[in-house]
Symmetry: C2
Subunit: 102 residues, 2 copies
Amino acid sequence: MLVYCVSVQVKPGHEEDFRTATGINRLETMKEKGVLRFDVLQSQDDPSRFMLYEVYRSEEAVAAHRETPHYLKWRSVVAPWMARDRQGEKFKPLYPEGDMEW
Amino acid sequence: MLVYCVSVQVKPGHEEDFRTATGINRLETMKEKGVLRFDVLQSQDDPSRFMLYEVYRSEEAVAAHRETPHYLKWRSVVAPWMARDRQGEKFKPLYPEGDMEW
């Protein structure tokens, strides 16, 4: 199991665009059997800043996600709204332990 | 509802200490009625780096958490192991919507 925390900075004025496109992507992503969570957060201090909290069963699940039509479409749709490259950091979950609580 | 993403850097050699102390704190924290999640993650690139993913029902729940004996004890126990100040960022959850999926 692994977790990606992805930090996103959008250009001012594209907050709602990003929210909508990411909500659509999330709906499809949550149907993937290798995906346990896909939380979308917006910074309280800077509304142009978002965090994606993505929990996968395996590296293979990450690779599979990145080949899905919804991910590829999302990536291309949001590209012009990015203020900078997305920054993803990979983590190993310590707690909760096991799949059930995710 | 709000989410804190707390970034922690421990001094090398204190990774297991931090994991154990934080696991104990988490057990008690998850009993608080204002706490929906309290995930503990360890960076894959740098084992001295941790992320706490804390989901609260309200600002009041955050304030209540910070007065609990387990939080105060944890804070004091881990203090000597910190390589730098913890960095917390506050987010508004966009998805999932509602309490049930947290």
